[in-house]
């Protein structure tokens, strides 16, 4: 399998403030990836790095196993489509914008009308082709921006927060447009979002970003605090960890590695807390429980496990997890 991106040793620190540090990251081609993180986690910065509109202060990015020099070659640029969080359309009509992208990418004049039509068809906006770009609604604007980015048939589509500030119907239309592109053979899609459900609905995998770092576990149980030897103090509770790190500000617990029981368990697990069950929710093919201990924990279990546990809201239940289920960074 070829890799669309291979990042190594990346540091991004404009004005001496570190925004991103990524020792290693590989994105296989043909994947639909969600970039998940809170505001300020570095999602936009990473998207900009992947789009080569910004450069890292240190490290290298390989694009389809090719090293990218100080300047991106036009042939490499053509393989990437980028949709900004608030896309900017140039003055003119919707079709003008798509034609401009095609001609900037060096597409032969002969093919431009056909590719313009094709791009508009993919986002289902043929009717708006001759509308002035500055009269579009927020949802239409994003879809036009997608059409503009996929018109020259890139291999990678990058979208920065595509679903923010949109109503449900427009999110649906946007998902259709992205899916339409993603389902073509060999196409890679990476989109950033702070919405886990959105990520799961569309993506086959997620990259979790916290404070400029990539973390392995989903960001359900993420706490700030201080690491002191093998104990992490969140300010409200102390969690046992096994880590060689001497300094860490964040802790995450994999929600699938937490064991739920109605009584305290006798086991070797170092972490055991009790709390009140406050939410039972269906999430994809799994069940998410939310338990209020000193901190709020989320646990993912199977529907069968839910049935056998016989839980109801308000119950006091016990959570146990090994210190190896904990990541600190």
């Amino acid at each position: 399998m070829t890799s669309a991106y291979k990042l190594s040793d990346i540091t991004l620190k404009p004005q001496n403030k570190i925004i991103l540090t990524i020792p290693q990251l590989t994105v296989n081609s043909g994947q639909c990836l969600a970039l998940l993180g809170e505001n300020g986690a570095g999602k936009t910065s990473l998207i900009n790095l992947l789009a080569f509109t910004h450069r890292a202060n240190h490290g290298s990015i390989r694009l389809f196993d090719q090293v990218v020099g100080s300047k991106l070659k036009p042939s490499q640029r053509r393989r990437i489509g980028l949709v900004h969080q608030q896309p900017y359309l140039l003055p003119g009509t919707v079709a003008d914008n798509i034609r401009l992208a095609l001609s900037l990418q060096g597409v032969k004049r002969l093919h431009i009308p056909e590719l313009t039509q094709q791009a508009l068809k993919q986002v289902n906006l043929i009717a708006l082709a001759d509308q002035a770009a500055n009269t579009l609604s927020g949802g239409e604007l994003k879809r036009v921006a997608i059409a503009r980015a996929i018109a020259y048939q890139p291999d990678i589509l990058l979208l920065d927060e595509p679903f923010s500030h949109l109503d449900h119907r427009h999110i649906q239309l946007l998902e259709d447009s992205i899916n339409h592109f993603a389902q073509q053979k060999g196409k890679t899609v990476i989109f950033s979002t702070h919405d886990r459900f959105q990520a799961q609905a569309l993506a086959s995998a997620t990259i979790n970003l916290v404070a400029g770092k990539i973390t392995a576990s989903p960001l359900l149980n993420h706490y700030h605090g201080k690491l002191d030897q093998h104990f992490f103090d969140t300010g409200k509770m102390i969690i046992h960890v096994t880590s060689e790190l001497t300094y860490a500000r964040h802790l995450a617990v994999d929600p699938r590695e937490i064991i739920v029981s109605p009584q305290p368990l006798k086991s070797s697990m170092r972490n055991s807390f009790s709390g009140r069950l406050i939410l039972i929710a269906e999430e994809g093919h799994a069940i998410r429980l939310t338990i209020q201990c000193a901190e709020r924990f989320h646990v993912i279990i199977s529907p069968e496990a839910l049935a056998s546990l016989n839980l109801s809201l308000g119950d006091t239940i016990w959570l146990s997890f090994k210190s190896t289920a904990v990541t600190v960074f």
């Binding site: 509109t53 990437i80 608030q86 140039l90």
Partner: protein
């Protein structure tokens, strides 16, 4: 007071009677200023866009120099070019002194920093997403410049109009390098200076009124451009 009103009336009749002498002067002035504006624009607009789009060492110093040049006294430019173009100067054998070309060069140099500075301001005040969007769509340095100019065309046109306004109202360099030769290098401003010192107040006033009308027209164009 009578003197002033009589002169004003005489000036009006000179303008409305389409006095050939006056219109030749206006034509000289306008053609010199337009040529100077176009030459300066050809250099200042790409330079301004390039400077706004790129970060390089010494950019702030260059910006300071440009700001200083914007307020450079026109007689100083006149003086320097006079030294270059006079018979004994390094470019003396080009025979440029007391020709419209010399005036055009002086005016172009005079308005270059103004137009470049206004172009920089125009690009800097454009939507911050413009340049990243164009780059992500595959724009190369040349196409990027073209499309940035297209997107900021009204503000850049305003820079052109401002430059033209400065050139047509300029008197010091036009006098020193053009020599105020009738029918050749006599511009509106140099003619006003001459006619007034000769005591021909009406002719001076008529030219002054026309200059004012041009200034008004330019300002209207500017405010219209700013609105669009």
């Amino acid at each position: 007071m009578n003197y002033f009103i009589e002169s004003l009336l005489a000036a009006f009749s000179l303008i409305t009677s389409l006095d050939a002498n006056i219109y030749r002067i206006v034509l000289t002035s306008v053609s010199i200023s337009i040529t100077a504006t176009l030459i300066a624009a050809l250099l200042a607009i790409p330079a301004g866009v390039a400077m706004a789009l790129n970060n390089f060492k010494g950019k702030t110093s260059l910006q300071h120099i440009l700001n200083t040049l914007m307020s450079m006294p026109t007689v100083v430019i006149g003086l320097l070019l006079y030294g270059l173009f006079s018979r004994l100067g390094p470019l003396g054998n080009w025979g440029l002194l007391y020709t419209p070309t010399a005036v055009i060069i002086a005016e172009a140099i005079l308005i270059f920093p103004i137009m470049m500075n206004l172009t920089i301001a125009a690009v800097n005040s454009a939507d911050p997403r413009l340049v990243p969007t164009l780059i992500s769509l595959g724009a190369r340095p040349f196409t990027l410049t073209i499309h940035v100019i297209r997107a900021t065309r009204y503000a850049i046109l305003a820079a052109l109009v401002t430059g033209f306004g400065r050139a047509i109202g300029e008197v010091g360099a036009a006098m020193m390098l053009g020599g105020n030769i009738e029918g050749f290098t006599r511009t509106m401003t140099t003619a006003i200076a001459l006619e007034t010192s000769k005591g021909e107040f009406e002719l001076g006033l008529a030219l002054g009124l026309l200059l004012l009308i041009i200034a008004f027209a330019l300002n209207f164009t500017l405010s219209w451009l700013n609105k669009s």
